[in-house]
């Protein structure tokens, strides 16, 4: 038998093992900001990745566009219909908004209360990604210099994608919704959700993602809730972390929950978690905590 470990080597091995466990445990918890070596490594790599991802996307997109050319007329027609409907609803919306602002004025709302549900979308370029199931994350080209902070929501044109997990000076990482986990104490917070067109009546918490089926789970739906299969689930804005009105997905199934009293809905996420190009970071009004 050859000698595997002499004393010195065993010592080094144990020290390394212990320091790795310490590092992993330390990095698990929530961290306010990154240290400068991390910032440096992320920003330099981000710069190089930026040179590669976008051109590759354009080339891939060109081939895709040629393949999809015949769908274009159909899509155009659908968009025309949507624009017509949108302009009609826009007028309606302006009336309601004006009335709402007047009521707020008359009821003497505080400034913070008025701006509670205001948010702006900032476009961000994806610069690289990893699809590993236990650490599925995307790197964006906006960082703390652009005002990005941890836990801001990130949406695509389809719907909610995830939250910002770590921010360095010029890049930030997005933790996708697929990382949501009830059993993980450091997972992103649950999303309070409601149903489109039943906003006042429906409520539930989106708490986890099932990797095996690729579906989100909406728990704590109260008795007598009108949620049904085919409904579109949106974020309700209660709790304040996720802004109001972001599309999350479509209800596939409603069943009795874990404890037999509340219901649980299975939701097919609207974002399809692939072919990333641009994403939007949701900037909400600053809140005093």
């Amino acid at each position: 038998m050859f000698k595997l470990f002499n004393n010195k080597r065993l010592f080094i091995l144990l020290i390394t093992l212990v320091s790795f466990i310490v590092l992993m445990g330390f990095s698990l918890g929530s961290r306010k900001s990154l240290t400068w070596p991390e910032n440096f490594v992320r920003d330099t790599t981000g710069f190089v990745q930026n040179l590669f991802y976008k051109p590759a996307g354009y080339v891939a997109g060109l081939f895709q566009d040629i393949a999809n050319l015949h769908d274009l007329a159909e899509e155009n027609e659908r968009l025309h219909l949507m624009v017509a409907q949108y302009t009609r609803e826009k007028a309606q919306y302006n009336f309601i908004k004006a009335a709402n602002e007047r009521y707020m004025e008359e009821l003497k709302f505080k400034k913070a209360q008025k701006e509670l549900y205001d948010f702006e979308l900032y476009i961000a370029q994806v610069i690289s990604l990893t699809t590993e199931p236990s650490n599925n994350s995307i790197v964006l080209d906006l960082g703390s210099k652009d005002g990005i902070k941890p836990n801001m929501s990130v949406v695509s044109t389809e719907g909610l994608v995830g939250v910002i997990s770590q921010v360095s000076n010029f890049t930030s990482t997005v933790k996708l919704m697929t990382m949501m986990d009830v059993n993980d104490p450091n997972s992103q917070p649950a999303i309070s959700a409601t149903v489109l067109n039943k906003e006042g009546q429906s409520f539930g918490m989106i708490e986890g993602f099932d990797t095996q089926s690729g579906m989100l789970q909406m728990n704590k739906i109260p008795v007598g809730d009108p949620i049904a299969v085919g409904d579109i689930v949106i974020s309700s804005g209660v709790g304040g972390l996720y802004p109001r009105g972001l599309t999350i997905g479509e209800v596939k199934e409603v069943k009795i929950g874990q404890f037999g009293y509340t219901s649980t809905a299975i939701i097919d996420p609207a974002a399809d978690f692939q072919d990333w190009k641009e994403l939007f970071v949701v900037f909400t009004e600053e809140r005093v905590e």
Partner: protein, 174 residues
Amino acid sequence: MRRSVLVLLLFLLFILQGTILPWLMPDSWQMRIIPNLVFIVLLFVTVYHHRHTALVLGLAFGMLHDVVFYGRILGAHSFAMGLSAYLIGLVFQIPRAPLPLMMTVVLLGSLLEDSILFAIYSVFNLTQVPYNWALLDHMLPTMLFHFAMGLVLYIPVRRQLELLKKETRKEENA
């Protein structure tokens, strides 16, 4: 000189696997194949060069991956890549290994690395899926993908390593 070429090559592969490869991969495979080109080259280094070089490079590039794609935990890839490259080198460090043996090493190493990663995530309660499911869902497809990439990389990487070896020998003689 050659050493820095090797490090640059690894860095380039790291950039490529995060930026270009997702575009080349068909949509239905994207979640099932997790390309790790850096690790394939590390397996070549551990077999044809030396396991200590592979260990150090594995720790460094694993940490790079961890920091850049920091979602939940730091150090998982660093630990997995370093340890599996070293263990593979401990068993298979054969400077004249033929192609079939090297491909077996790529398959084994890829499985070992993914299993170590899975174990780390399980220990920290970050994954709830059973090992059997993870094996069929992404470890086996990734293994096959790494096998194919190993074939593509075999000639250029081996040539680089031969040059590196020649240079180290010259340095030792001088």
